[in-house]
């Protein structure tokens, strides 16, 4: 470190300035579309298409948010669609966390015949991309008469192989003595799981929950197949429909986009360490 410091020369200082300029430039380029979304969400459509783009509007046009919520027909269907997205994403997150940690616990802490085979089978499903099985899955869901329902949106994602893997790895290091002590105290196996194991795997559960919620909130392809009615649409489907309608107001469009992204931004800002965790980065989630 000292050797480097003493070599500080004008050339080095120039390099430093250039590196900072590059990094600041990259950050600016990445942020411009986001800033554009937020600024134009409070502009009348005429201002957005002005040349050059007025980054700051004379007056804040909050009506966009109201009109976005109201919808072109005044039915407030967008509120229902937000609710659908929340119901689906939260249900999938809850079942994925529960089932994955159950299976991860079973695979990590119990000896039984065929355990390795089961683990390999579950891991093998990570190699099956959702895009390749969506049509047969759709036909399964049709046969079960679940199309256009919450169940149809939720059931194919009840658990995830990545989740099982994550929880198993995390639980491998869980001390056996703690489990045995609870057994000697007479606790039943389900009670040990809910009262001893689950409260102690918080970080792994948070990572899995954040990633699952994110991928469901983002999901477009599966709802596109399953949903038919306006009432069952999720946010991505609502946005798709709104956008395909010609002469949609650009300001309202961006207000809807901002409202749709708000939950994710809040989640990202408060839980960023779970997004940017090593486990989170190597996930390959369905959808």
């Amino acid at each position: 470190m000292n050797a480097a410091k003493t070599k500080s020369s004008p050339a080095r200082r120039l390099a430093d300035i250039l590196i900072w300029l590059f990094l600041i430039g990259a950050c600016a380029l990445v942020l411009i579309p986001l800033v554009f979304m937020f600024t134009s969400s409070v502009m009348p459509a005429i201002d957005i298409m002005k040349l050059p783009y007025p980054w700051i509007s004379d007056h804040i046009h909050w009506q966009n948010f109201w009109n976005g919520l109201r919808g072109p027909e005044g039915t407030f269907i967008f509120l229902r669609n937000i609710l659908n997205s929340l119901v689906v994403a939260l249900s999938v997150t809850a079942t994925t966390v529960l089932l994955s940690s159950m299976s991860g616990y079973g695979l990590a802490k119990f000896q039984f015949k065929g355990r390795n085979t089961v683990f390999m089978l579950i891991m093998a499903t990570m190699m099956i991309p959702f895009e390749a099985i969506m049509i047969p899955l759709y036909m399964v869901v049709m046969r079960m008469r679940l199309q256009d329902s919450y169940a149809g949106l939720i059931v194919p994602f009840l658990t995830s192989a990545f989740g099982v893997f994550l929880m198993r790895q995390f639980l491998l290091t869980f001390p056996d003595e703690v489990l045995d002590a609870a057994r000697i105290d007479g606790a039943s196996e389900p009670a040990i799981f809910t009262h001893v194991v689950l409260p102690n795997v918080g970080p792994a559960i948070a990572t899995l929950a954040v990633l699952t919620f994110r991928s469901q909130w983002d999901s477009l392809l599966w709802p596109l197949l399953v949903v038919q009615s306006e009432e069952m649409k999720t946010i991505p489907l609502y946005i798709t429909k709104f956008m395909a309608e010609t002469h949609s107001d650009e300001g309202i469009m961006m207000a809807i986009a901002a409202m749709a992204s708000l939950p994710m931004f809040i989640l990202f800002l408060t839980m960023s360490k779970y997004f940017i965790s090593r486990e989170g980065l190597y996930s390959t989630t369905k959808g």
Binding site: I19, L23, V30, S40, K113, L121, I122, I128, P129, A161
Partner: protein
């Protein structure tokens, strides 16, 4: 007696093990293994999505149709162009950004957060924002006109074949460059400081240190990121779907997932869609196998 009790205890534990694993196992049998075998099976049949008629066996008919269909090759080419076009800049940019971030002593976390933030956005919202930016009167044309000191030149972001493909690639690179930067930062952070210090004591400058120490030791991370990015790019759907819905010409951005979706849902041709799914699956299987092999050797030893 004691032996017996212990034996039954083990048995009881084994039963509980199965109980905990069973729900997920059943789920994967029904919702992963059955569909992929079904897709494989259906790829040898002719079947209409809506008709109640039983599927008709056509052997390799669907595959031979696809290999002769120019539309299929077009979407295979579109997918390949998109994948290569997105993953090369993603890889280079994220590696450079990560190296530069790690060379700074301040704001490392903040810069990573900013670069990562588009990944928190849903892909539909991302496509929506960029549709307005690529509008003839939008920011993209304004930006280039300012840069090149021209006025009123329209670059046809959403109408000419090449520009349309470039537009989808830009959206993708914008959304994921931060994600891969963070992966590289983790990789660079895992290299022990002692190695850099040794290099600096030996008189290496920062450039030499990067080129001879950081870069070779990052090779496993680089390979891993390449395969991950490629798999992600092959699965791209939302941007292309939304752009074509918004009125952009479909042919240049008709990627394989979009083709599968349209073949099944618009043309009701389950057999052909299944055959395409299986081909996509095989390509991804190969890449995933590569990824697993690389992650196994990823734990580099620094000794």
């Amino acid at each position: 007696m004691r032996q017996n009790k212990r034996f039954s205890m083990e048995q009881k534990k084994a039963r509980w093990g199965w109980t905990f694993v069973a729900p997920s196992l059943v789920f994967f049998l029904v919702f992963s293994f059955y569909p992929i075998f079904n897709a494989f099976y259906m790829s040898f049949f002719k079947k209409n999505l809506l008709s109640l008629k039983p599927p008709v066996f056509v052997g390799l008919g669907n595959y031979s149709y696809l290999f002769k269909s120019s539309l299929f090759w077009q979407s295979a080419a579109n997918t390949a162009i998109f994948t290569v076009g997105a993953f090369v800049p993603l890889l280079v940019l994220s590696l450079v950004l990560a190296a530069l971030i790690m060379s700074r002593r301040r704001f490392q976390k903040l810069i990573q957060m900013i670069l990562y933030s588009p990944a928190a956005l849903s892909s539909v919202v991302a496509a929506l924002i960029w549709l307005l930016i690529f509008d003839p009167r939008g920011l993209a044309n304004q930006g280039l006109n300012t840069l090149f000191r021209t006025s009123g030149v329209n670059y046809h972001w959403l109408s000419s074949t090449g520009m349309l493909r470039l537009s989808t690639i830009i959206v993708y690179v914008w959304k994921y460059v931060g994600y891969f930067t963070v992966v590289f930062v983790a990789g660079i952070g895992a290299i022990p400081h002692s190695l850099h210090e040794a290099a600096l004591i030996d008189g290496a400058d920062r450039w030499k240190d990067f080129w001879h120490i950081t870069f070779p030791l990052l090779k496993p991370t680089t390979l891993l990121v390449s395969v991950m990015a490629m798999i992600q790019c092959l699965k791209t759907f939302s941007t292309q779907y939304l752009f074509s819905k918004a009125g952009a010409p479909t042919r240049p951005i008709d990627v394989i997932t979009l083709n599968i979706y349209n073949t099944a849902i618009k043309d009701h041709n389950i057999g052909r869609a299944s055959a395409m799914s299986i081909l996509l699956f095989l390509v991804m299987l190969f890449l995933t196998w590569l990824q697993f092999r690389i992650s196994k050797t990823e734990e580099v030893s620094y000794m």
